[in-house]
Amino acid sequence: MREINKILTIAKFTFKEIIKSNILVNIFFLGLGLLLVTYVAYSFTYGEPARIALDFGLGTLSLSSVGIAIFIGSGILAKEIDSRTVYMIISRPVPRYCFILGKVMGLILVLIVNVLLLSTLTLSAYFFIGGEFAPILMWSILFILFEAIIALLVVSLLSLISSQTIAVILSMIVYVLGHAIDGVKLTSMIAKNKVLESIIDVYHFFLPGYYKLNLKEHVIYKQNIELDYLVNNTFYVLFYSLFLITLCVLTFNKKNLD
């Protein structure tokens, strides 16, 4: 019980520290930019302005969430060690896993705030232009949050085993690969080459399949999607996040904080 309180305390102050920095201002300006772009796109689009607004909105939401996850998440430990604040925390009766879990939880709260603010703006613009509500919209926003959480965990893990810059670069590469990998597998070059196919199978086993969380096409083109697909991918996120968190905790437990 005490450990849970410590995790929540670390999460609370991590959230507070980030929110009190300029991130909310950045999100606010991003939101304004989003509305402006939506308005411009709406004014120049013939036929389907709501669809364009949604396309821009979800795209911005996804990129900003992953951006925040990668850039702030990469400093989760590096900044703490540089400023020696990590020493102040783990010199108290706080197990190392509490520190990692608290930090990650605090950052997830920041991501939730970002998604809530920007999705509210996006949906407001979409409905204002005449878009119709569909449950898939909510799933899409939820999956964007999931995508950002996985990006956060990936960059946190990488920053524990490499430098902050390398962690950011690798996380971006993994993000792009994670979106492209499914399409690549369908190409004839891969289908004909068993070795490349097995490499992609190995990738699927260990690295995140971000493509599973991209529902934008389904939302914009109003394609049908099975509930099973959504539930299965939710479980995929849950288990993959647990896998990454476990790796983070094990790595941090062994890490020399010098």
Binding site: R2, N5, K6, T9, I10, F13, K16, E17, I18, K20, S21, S83, R84, T85, Y87, M88, I89, I90, S91, R92, P93, V94, P95, N256, L257, D258
Partner: protein, 287 residues
């Protein structure tokens, strides 16, 4: 309270470079109720030792033992340890008070306990006026004070400070030294690293001196001063209106004093000539 048993630490940051032996079989203990100065030049291994004591880094060999008076295991022991790192820079967007609440909550203190402790210590550290300011606006001295305050919030039995007086102005140093003396008088154990020997001489009961990762002296300040006392006497006297001082070998002291008295000089003081701790350790370093 903490025993270092043959602790060695080797760093190897680059495959092409030679190993760096930061600590070589370091053995000492931190006795209860004492103020111990941990001395050594820059790079002698002081901070590495403290990081190992706090389990931030693991020793290559040897072990650290926490006495039962601190707790049955490491986490319990940490409830009774207050640690302040060297040149801390805390969360810039939190206020000093929020930072204290953060640190207090991690040591299982209630809000009321944190507030009462902050009220007491903030005045002593003369930081009460800045508790509601963001830490990013704190000066170096203020950072040191808020860090020290956070270190004492949970009333620890053992206080470990890494270069707590470094970079402070003379007034700031004096004020923090007074607090260390007060903690010593309250029966706390204070272990602090420093390369400013005069500070250690002023407030410590004993010293541990590290040189190139090895303990070269571990004992009381009085003992090391006594062992290094010179066979000379410093005599100060008035010659007319001028105050003069002479250093005379002990075997010629009486003869010289008789001569001064015979010449009608007014003797002001007579003192055994003793080196400062700084001079003693400078010689240790040279040798």
């Amino acid at each position: 309270m903490i025993d270092f048993c043959n602790v060695s630490k080797v760093f190897n940051t680059d495959l092409l470079k030679k190993d760096f032996h930061a600590l070589k079989s370091v053995t000492f203990n931190i006795p209860e109720g004492k103020t111990i100065g941990f001395l050594g030049a820059n790079g002698a291994g002081k901070t590495t030792s403290l990081k190992i004591a706090m389990d931030f880094i693991r020793p290559t060999s040897g072990e650290i033992k926490y006495n039962e008076s601190l707790g049955k295991n490491k986490l319990e022991a940490f409830k009774n340890i207050g640690y302040l790192p060297e040149r801390p820079f805390f969360y810039p967007h939190l206020t000093g008070l929020e930072f204290c609440h953060y640190m207090g909550a991690l040591t299982d203190l209630s809000k009321a306990e944190i507030e009462s402790q902050v009220n007491v210590w903030a005045i002593k550290f003369k930081i009460d006026f800045a508790l509601n300011r963001h830490i990013k606006n704190y000066s170096k001295g203020m950072l040191q004070r808020i860090g020290f305050l956070a270190t004492l919030l949970h009333n620890p039995k053992l206080i470990i400070l890494d270069e707590p007086l470094a970079g402070l102005d003379p007034i700031g140093r004096k004020e923090l030294k007074d607090i260390i003396v007060q903690l010593r008088d309250e029966g706390k154990t204070v272990f602090f690293s420093s390369h400013i020997i005069s500070d250690v001489e002023e407030i410590c009961d004993s010293v541990i001196f590290l040189k190139d990762g090895e303990v070269v002296f571990n004992g009381s300040v009085d003992q090391i001063m006594k062992d290094n006392i010179k066979p000379e006497t410093r005599i100060s006297y008035f010659d007319g209106d001028s105050l003069l001082t002479e250093v005379i070998p002990n075997n010629k002291k009486e003869e010289y004093l008789s001569k001064l008295l015979k010449d009608g000089k007014e003797i002001v003081s007579l003192q055994a000539e003793k080196p400062t701790l700084e001079e003693i350790f400078y010689n240790v370093k040279k040798n």
